[in-house]
């Protein structure tokens, strides 16, 4: 019996096509995830940032 968490890869990959560009759904989701992580890393506050300030720092 298959576990509900198992993903069957026993079929051709799903592809998304935009004109001449084609990308598999798996690769596109990884690219989108990386862009989301990058954006969050830029704007999310870093914990305890006051503790990291050091003597001699320009800020």
């Amino acid at each position: 019996m298959r576990n509900f968490l198992e993903i069957s890869l026993n079929h051709p990959a799903h592809y998304i096509t935009f004109g001449p560009f084609s990308v598999s759904a798996g690769n596109l989701s990884i690219i989108i995830a990386m862009m989301v992580i990058f954006t969050l890393a830029l704007f999310m506050p870093f914990p305890n940032h006051e503790d990291h300030k050091v003597k001699g720092s320009k800020k």
Binding site: A33, A41, L42, M44, H49, H52, K53, V54
Partner: protein
């Protein structure tokens, strides 16, 4: 200083001069480092350590084990997800450093060793995909063969030569990648973490 110093003495002097302990193992960082965007380099390193550890385990036990036993499936999955995270963290690290123009302030060698690590990782990852010893690796290696032949690389690297691919993946490439990563980290420590453009100017 003695005029006739031995080569070991010269290496020691040069090493101590270029790599001061305070630079190699700093206990303070500038305030601008307190940002999530500065976390992805060390996250890539952490994923690399997991890759090496799980890879060593897979090397000890072999394909029959990782295809059939539950522990083998688990360690194989740890190796796969470590490489997925390794590349995700490395790409986010690359984007962050690119938009920060991280080659500023005599950090060009740091940038170049990072690029070398990225390209070596791609080759190492590729050789890993073609030694999974399943239908996926068979498909990838047979398709890649034509591409490599078209580029003229087929004379040196035959993707259907499993023995060559295994040795590249578990021996040569991890050593080369490990050396580049160590070099990159030493350069980061020597030159310091790049400041944001509004702080560093240039």
């Amino acid at each position: 200083m003695s005029e006739k110093i031995s080569w070991t003495g010269r290496v020691r002097s040069a090493t101590l001069e270029k790599f001061e302990p305070e630079d190699l193992l700093p206990d303070h960082q500038p305030a601008y480092v307190a940002s999530w965007i500065y976390v992805f380099g060390v996250a890539t390193l952490a994923a690399f350590v997991m890759l090496i550890a799980s890879g060593l385990y897979l090397t000890l036990e072999g394909p029959a084990w990782w295809h059939t036993s539950s522990v083998g499936h688990y360690v194989n999955s740890v190796h796969l997800w470590s490489v997925e995270l390794f590349f995700v963290f490395m790409v986010v690290h690359l984007w962050g450093k690119f938009w920060m123009a991280a080659w500023r302030g005599r950090r060009l060698a740091t940038w170049i060793t990072g690029c070398l690590a990225f390209f070596t990782s791609i080759i190492t990852g590729f050789t890993g995909y073609i030694i999974q010893s399943n239908f996926d690796s068979q498909w990838i290696s047979t398709q890649a063969k034509d591409g490599f032949n078209a580029m003229g690389i087929g004379a040196f690297f035959n993707t259907l030569n499993t023995g060559q691919a295994i040795l590249l993946h578990v021996s040569l490439l991890p050593l080369v990648l490990g050396a580049i990563v160590v070099w990159h980290v030493i350069l980061v420590r020597r030159r310091g973490v790049v400041p944001p453009i509004e702080v560093g100017g240039e």
